[in-house]
């Protein structure tokens, strides 16, 4: 992925016209990709009916706080935001730790059935999660975890993609001689993992952390099933609830909330885009 693009290319250098249409197509595609973000901002900062003006309004306005105050009247927006931060952080810390641990075992240990178990882990990625939602709901009800963060956190504490991703990275980044040396010095298994492996693989852990945080942050189906009480809503449910309100759709209000909920992820993505993209596409490299 890190190969430097081949820049020099003398023989069949394309002409100006070809170049123009090439970039035109790429730029139109890029505009289509980012326009909805800008549109979100435009609607969020204009008054109530800006979304339906008839040539569409394309300039940001000054009504953002006005719109946003209506969000606060209707939902506990910040409460939902904090809920999402808490749940996403808890899941992410756990996922990063447990996936690194398991990835390390698959990369650096020899044990019976290792191959089979690893293939099994990969295979679970293809099982549609929504198939198991009914029994999961029943389990949560039995445990009295309905409407509790535990229902969101515990099932998500470790995942197959994370194990796969960490194993790939650890296989190449952590040298077995280092581990051997640690063993000879009498270090325990966990000590070696913690003191030798972890410092080497922090970049991969960070990537996994960001990806996981985004996934949990954006999750909708499972929170919708297990969260009943308004105070426990995650941000995605809170957003959806704004849209369900019957008394006329106030898109200025809805978009100001949507924008506020999207902005943190957008910033994280733009700061770490290289890592995020590398991580998200790595699943495909394997197969």
């Amino acid at each position: 992925m890190s190969t430097v693009a081949l820049r020099r290319k003398k023989p069949d250098e394309p002409g100006m016209i070809a170049k123009f249409f090439f970039y035109l197509a790429l730029i139109i595609g890029a505009i289509v990709s980012i326009f909805p973000f800008y549109w979100m901002f435009v609607v969020a900062t204009n008054d109530k009916d800006a979304a339906f003006q008839m040539p569409p309004l394309l300039a940001p306005g000054l009504e953002f706080f006005d719109n946003f105050s209506r969000v606060l009247e209707r939902t506990e927006f910040f409460r939902a935001l904090i809920n999402s931060v808490v749940v996403s952080s808890a899941v992410t810390v756990s996922v990063v730790f447990l996936c690194t641990l398991a990835g390390y075992a698959f990369a650096k240990y020899e044990f019976p059935l290792k191959k089979v178990l690893f293939v099994f882990v990969i295979g679970t990625m293809l099982v549609p999660a929504q198939l198991s939602v009914l029994p999961q709901y029943v389990i949560m009800a039995k445990l009295h975890w309905i409407d509790s963060y535990k229902a969101l956190i515990v099932p998500a504490m470790v995942n197959a993609f994370g194990i796969f991703w960490m194993r790939q990275y650890i296989s190449s980044a952590v040298h077995s001689e280092l581990i051997e040396a640690g063993r000879i010095d009498g270090g325990g298994h966990f000590r070696i993992f913690w003191n030798i492996a972890i410092p080497v693989v922090t970049p991969a852990m960070a990537t996994l952390g960001i990806l996981n945080f985004m996934n949990v942050w954006n999750d909708f189906f499972w929170p919708l099933v297990v969260l009943k009480n308004k105070e426990n809503y995650t941000i995605q449910i809170a957003l959806q609830q704004l849209f369900t309100n019957k008394d006329g759709l106030d898109f200025g209000m809805i978009m100001s909330a949507t924008f506020t909920a999207t902005l943190p992820l957008l910033i994280v993505f733009l700061l770490f885009s290289r890592w995020v993209i590398a991580g998200l596409t790595s699943g495909a490299i394997k197969s």
Binding site: F52, A102, P135
Partner: protein, 319 residues
């Protein structure tokens, strides 16, 4: 977990060998390290799937006693026209959202990878951005555009076309939802194709060019065959994802509080969700889940068969 002692080369014969040899200890450590995944998967993955199948033969409201009803649940849902509408909706939207999207993604990837492109990283970030937005946010934003007096209809009108009722028409709803799916995933899949393209060694193209192959020939005879494993992967994942379509129709059609089993956009997962969590029929919901599982397996296999036929005999990719 019982590990048979793999024949150790006969070396020293110690008088008394402790059971916890170094090897056993490290194996146990490895099992401990990987155990959280298997434990959680057993409880929240495997058991639920088996229980779903079991549950599909019972009548149950999640509270009272379960009552065995044989295949009654399956008869009930296959006799329900809404189920078949949800089934066909899911397939139609899977086609509408996936096929054009993947073709487009392939084009975008080839363009991004082109030597002509001097701004590879910048474009990559732009094209990827939609994927970080939550589906709820995507649906809300597109709802403003697809309103009756929204931007899309304005564009249609300014080209002299009639307005389309995007939030109530049979095709309108499907077009709107497929557009949301396409917007969120096209760039993501393009980037996956791009990483596939970058894995193709450039000297193959070099050789082809010396032999006088045109750009189009290079695309058809080199790029596409070598990209086959990536195409297979992306199609498979997109298909599985498309069959589980839920959030877009649920949010998009949930507006004004009319519920989400509206016929224009009800999907199999919406149907399942409503059966279980709105109507309290866990048995029929489980039967829906089982049929969805069959559909998923069927379409995955179909996918693999189709793409192995298209790609000729040799799969160019590595494991």
């Amino acid at each position: 977990m019982a590990d048979t002692v793999t024949a150790t080369p006969a070396q020293q014969i110690p008088p008394k060998r402790p059971y916890w040899t170094e090897r056993r200890r490290s194996q146990l450590t490895a099992y401990t390290f990987i155990s959280p995944f298997f434990l959680l998967f057993a409880i929240f993955g495997l058991y639920p799937i088996l229980f779903t199948i079991y549950l599909s033969f019972f009548k149950w409201d999640a509270l009272g006693p379960m009552k065995y009803v044989g295949f009654k649940n399956y008869e009930l849902i296959t006799g329900d026209p809404t189920f078949w509408i949800s089934f066909s909706n899911t397939l139609i939207m899977a086609l509408m959202g996936t096929v054009p999207q993947l073709i487009l993604a392939l084009f975008v990837a080839v363009m991004l990878n082109s030597a002509m492109n001097r701004f590879k990283n910048t474009f990559r970030i732009f094209y990827f951005m939609p994927n970080i937005t939550s589906i709820v946010a995507v649906t809300l934003v597109f709802s403003t555009m697809f309103g009756n007096n929204g931007m899309v209809n304005w564009i249609l009108n300014s080209f002299g076309l009639d307005s389309v009722p995007f939030n109530s028409g049979w095709w309108g709803v499907k077009i709107a939802i497929s557009t949301m799916v396409m917007w969120r995933w096209m760039g993501y899949n393009a980037i996956i194709f791009l990483s596939g393209l970058q894995s193709i060694p450039t000297d193959i193209y070099e050789a082809a060019r010396i032999d006088g192959a045109t750009r189009g020939q290079q695309l058809i005879y080199i790029t596409l065959p070598l990209l086959r494993p990536f195409i297979l992967f992306v199609t498979l994942v997109s298909t599985i994802g498309a069959l589980q379509l839920f959030t877009e129709p649920y949010v998009f059609l949930g507006q004004s509080g009319t519920g989400s089993t509206r016929q224009e956009g009800v999907t199999m997962v919406t149907y399942l969700y409503n059966e279980a969590f709105k109507n309290g029929f866990f048995g029929t919901a489980a039967a829906t889940a089982v049929l969805l599982l069959f559909a998923t397996i069927l379409f995955s296999l179909l996918n693999m068969m189709l793409s192995s036929r298209m790609g000729g005999d040799t799969g160019g990719g590595k494991a």
